[in-house]
Amino acid sequence: MRNKNWKQILLFLAPVLVLFVAYFVYPLGFVFVTSFTDWNGIGAMEFSGLDNYLGLFGDETFRTSLGNNITWALVLGFVQIPLAAGMAMILARKPKGWKMFRTVYFLPNVISQVALAMMWLAIYNAEHGILNSFLELAGMSGLTRNWLGNMTTAFPAVIIQQIFYIGYFMIVILASRMGISESYYEAAEIDGANIFQQERHITIPMLKGILITTMTLALAYGMRHFESTYLMTNGGPAHATSVMGILLYRNLGALNYGEANAIGSILIIFGGATIALIRWLFSRNDNTSDSVQ
């Protein structure tokens, strides 16, 4: 049925549509099209077919970076979110000092990522870092090492510092958890359910939508991860911590725009596929999900 107010609707939509096309659709299309070219951003573009993509998948550094991004996504999605959810469930029970803990966990989200990275660089430093000093004090000198300069420990070291920043997702889940009526828990308690049973059979099912949403977001963040790795290791040592964002950034710096845009396209495709996969996994056989993604 045709809406008789279509002119007004169109008028209101037009500014947003124009902005959406100009700042999202057009750049996206431009990135995708130029990913099939050999272009330095200044001279003429030369069509190179799939060369950029074939070159990337044949490059060990790119494969490592892609693998690292997938690891980031899995860790953020399946470790950070359960940690955030667990903490939200604990705080929702309002133990003593819960407001302070809520603030403390959220605090890193209002601190610059650069400042946090500098702090972790100081913690991990091989010469005068707190971690090595602590290990030495504890009589475990054998465990001291150059945490960010060792190919075995660098990647876990960067990931670990990020995992514990659960504040953002914790607040989102906590807000949703606070919306669940206490009467469900009171009824369960009368029926003899302990805390774990209450969380298992009341909280988790009722938070399913927000858990899927936060997990999707975390997976997407993992696929596009860049900041802390760039600031802490710049992808090193020997590409051990490299992610696709760093390769993209490096190619932009070298004016390899064709290859940079191929990486950008792969990032978009993998990011989109990850979101689609997680949505499909969690929402099949379920028509009740209220996730917003």
């Binding site: 124009v18 020997a238 004016l255």
Partner: protein, 423 residues
């Protein structure tokens, strides 16, 4: 009807607003004053910041109502470079800017109507201000689309207090002497060399590698392919500098802050950087400043080499507005005026492609004087690795070096990893 009009006016304002904002940020203000925006890295804690700001103020005062240069602070060098690349690729070239002359940045010259060509102006008396060969170095196919400005020389900085405490009497003349000295320095409780594999270019180690390559391969070493045995041999020596405690534990993965920090703190005995670092050492580590001796790296088949290169060129976005071009040239001439360059040089310790004279009574910074002597005494001057390769190859240097330093690659594999990155 009234509602429709209001909606229409609102929509028009919404569309017109970005245009109005853009227009307000245009190039001319007031009574046809030409405003030139200059995003620059010489701000904040940079050793040239204060004098550069004073010179800009003086220029603005001199041309009040006619020209005005507005500094836009970009204190992060890498971010500045990447921002510039993106802007230029998008065809939005700043009125004034600076860049590191290297194969990647020189590709800016390829763009039609991207950069202003100064060849006609430099052919006149203005060109006489510059050190011989520097304008040629900024000229491609007859076009001089940048003005040579800062040059870099990177000899070795020796902390003689540490050397003497370790019983090392003189700076090592060969690599055998170097490693013998390193043993004594370690025994005295110090770190022999500052190194780094991190940052965008593994700067300090890249310079060590360039020095070693010059001493092994001579003045034409960069004409050889990177897989040449000379570079493999240079890699072997660099690998030894990372072994057996010859550098700090945080060198692998460390950045310029790590390498420079150990030298500033008086922990490491040998370090490499350019003259722009003099101001920092003088202010932050006066004891180290007093103990520093500038000299060549150890020699091998060739001795007494120095590493020198154009460090920063001044450039401007192309314009077909003759008044704007006039303003740009006036500012470029002002910044490269010998007495102004001398002021920056004396204040920061940096060295320039512009000639200036030093009167008998004028006191030159003692480290800067040592730099000048080191350059004058050099048997030959080679450029560094970074000057000869694109930025992605330079970035690969640090990654390949880390792999070799960690024992995961041989010197042959190190050079091959770099060679694989060359397009």
């Amino acid at each position: 009807m009234r509602t429709k009009r209001i909606i229409l006016i609102l929509a028009l304002v919404l569309f017109a607003l970005p245009g109005m904002i853009w227009a307000a940020g245009g190039q001319e203000t007031g009574d046809q004053e030409i405003v030139l925006k200059w995003p620059t890295i010489w701000v904040g804690e940079d050793s040239k910041a204060a004098t550069v700001a004073a010179l800009v103020d003086e220029f603005n005062e001199m041309y009040a109502g006619k020209y005005q240069v507005v500094i836009e602070a970009n204190p992060d060098y890498d971010a500045y470079r990447n921002k510039l690349n993106s802007q230029i690729a998008a065809g939005v070239v700043p009125d004034l800017f600076v860049f590191n002359p290297d194969p990647t940045s020189f590709s800016f010259y390829e763009g039609k109507d991207l950069l202003m060509d100064f060849s006609a102006e430099l052919a006149g008396d203005w060109g006489d201000n510059f050190v011989s060969g520097s304008i040629e170095g900024a000229t491609i196919k007859g076009e001089t689309k940048s003005v040579p400005f800062e040059v870099g020389y990177t000899p070795v900085w020796y902390n003689m207090d540490i050397m003497e405490a370790a019983g090392v009497k003189s700076i090592p003349a060969t690599y055998d002497e170097f490693f013998a000295a390193a043993e004594k320095i370690k025994a005295a409780g110090f770190i022999p060399t500052s190194q780094m594999t991190g940052g965008t270019n593994a700067w300090t180690s890249m310079l060590w590698f360039s020095h070693i390559a010059a001493s092994l391969g001579g003045p034409k070493v960069w004409d050889k392919p990177i897989t040449d045995p000379v570079f493999v041999q240079a890699a072997e020596i660099l690998q030894m500098m990372y072994a057996d405690g010859n550098t700090s534990k945080d060198a692998v993965g460390g950045d310029a802050g790590v390498a420079g920090g150990h030298f500033l703190a008086g922990r490491s005995a040998m370090f490499i950087n350019g003259p722009w670092y003099i101001g920092r050492v003088r202010s932050d580590a006066p004891d180290v400043y007093a103990a520093t001796k500038i000299g060549p790296a150890p020699g091998a088949a060739f001795s007494g080499a120095q590493i020198g290169f154009p460090q920063t060129n001044l450039a401007a976005g192309y314009t077909d507005d003759p008044r704007k071009k006039e303003a740009v040239v006036a500012f470029m001439r002002w910044m490269t005026k010998p007495e102004n360059v001398k002021a920056i040089a004396f204040d920061s310790g940096a060295m320039f492609a512009v000639k200036y004279s030093v009167a008998a009574g004028e006191k030159v910074d003692q480290l800067q004087a040592q730099f000048m002597n080191a350059v004058n005494d050099a048997s030959f001057v080679n450029s560094h690795f970074q000057f000869n390769f694109t930025t992605d190859v330079v970035a690969e240097f640090g990654q390949a070096l880390a792999k070799m330093a960690l024992g995961r690659a041989t010197p042959e594999e190190f050079v091959q990893q770099i060679a694989d990155k060359i397009r």
